[in-house]
């Protein structure tokens, strides 16, 4: 390979690395003021590759003013590349019955490399006492996009 071609290839590789693997630097209070009510969670992992990318760091809950359950989960991207994770919260009542709600629809969160982001949801039904968080990475069917 001649020298100019080798140089161009090297520049392209560096550019691809820089644009594809940008990670996020974060700064926050060393001793956080807000006190979180952490939830002891149980994890069921069926997609190992997803678990290696998106890690649920913690889950905390609170009751908003009208008594509805609010849940927040912290998601960390363990990879250096950007990933889009799809998630939804399911709401359960005291008997463990799932409460159908529009707030249980699938949503997406974009995580930059090594970034930690919070996802939160509030139940609308007053009977809701529990929740289940589902995560998936697979892209939805996208017949008309980026073809």
């Amino acid at each position: 390979m001649n020298t100019p071609l080798r140089r161009i290839t090297a520049i392209l590789c560096v550019t691809a690395t820089l644009t594809g693997c940008q990670t996020v630097n974060t700064a926050q209070r060393s001793d956080p003021v807000g006190e979180r009510n952490l939830v002891d969670d149980q994890r069921i992992v069926t997609d190992l590759s997803l678990a290696q990318v998106a890690q649920v760091v913690s889950i905390n809950e609170a009751r908003v003013a009208n008594g509805r359950l609010k849940v927040q989960a912290q998601l960390r991207n363990k990879d250096r590349r950007q990933h889009t994770i799809h998630y939804r919260f399911e709401w359960l009542d005291r008997e463990g019955i799932v409460q159908n709600s529009i707030t249980s629809s699938w949503k997406s969160v974009s995580l930059e490399g090594r970034q930690t982001r919070s996802i939160a949801a509030t139940a609308t039904h007053p009977d809701v006492v529990d929740f289940r968080l589902e995560l998936i990475e697979r892209e939805p069917l996208n017949a008309f996009k980026n073809r």
Binding site: V64, S101, T103, S105, P140, L141, F144, N146
Partner: protein
């Protein structure tokens, strides 16, 4: 008459068999599935669900519903500033269903629809009138905007949903929410 070559016939049959066998079968889907088609030409069901979801949750955290007494809400205005026709109920109905069925609010049926419903149930009776003293606590206004951008073959469409809950007596905004949904598609598949 010219006879087709047996090999050509065989290939033709094989191609036809493959084409029919590989075609995607028609199927019913769970409406909540993520395997739905993402359209880039307009507002689709998933956009409406997401907008309604985010708006409802944002509303829930406002002081409007803090005291536990379900307020009476009336939908006042809908402004569609997009290039396409959008039924306001594609988003609003979902919010109304969630607020009403969860007991968070009482929502007045839009003017006109209540009369139609009354006439259908009792075609020869009197049409109902709003009882004296029944006035909404809040009015809900809703606006949709769109923004279109292009970069080469890629087209981008952003819908912005804006909602306001306003105290009916004072016209002071009690809650305001905005949600944006952005979709991208290639030139060949986007209708503008």
């Amino acid at each position: 008459m010219h006879q087709p070559h047996p090999l050509a016939l065989t290939l033709l049959l094989a191609a036809a068999t493959l084409a029919t066998a590989c075609a995607a079968p028609n199927q019913r889907l769970d409406t909540d599935t993520r395997q739905r088609i993402v359209t880039t030409t307009g507002l689709d069901v998933d956009d409406a669900v997401r907008a309604a979801d985010v708006m409802t949750q944002s509303m829930l955290n406002s002081r409007v519903f803090a005291d536990g007494q379900p307020p009476l809400i009336e939908v006042s205005t809908f402004i569609n500033n997009t290039e396409t026709q959008i039924d306001p109920d594609s988003v609003l109905k979902k919010i109304r269903v969630e607020l009403t069925n969860s007991g968070l609010a009482r929502v007045l049926t839009p003017r006109g629809q209540d009369q139609i419903a009354a006439e259908q149930s009792n075609p020869y009776g009197d049409t109902p009138t709003m009882p004296d003293g029944l006035r909404p606590d809040y009015t809900l206004s809703f606006k949709i905007l769109d923004d279109r951008a292009r970069a080469g073959r890629i087209r981008e469409l952003t819908y912005t949903f804006q909602m306001s809950l306003t105290e009916a007596n004072t016209r002071i905004a009690a809650w305001e929410g905005e949600e944006r949904i952005t979709k991208q598609g290639s030139k060949a598949t986007v209708g503008w």
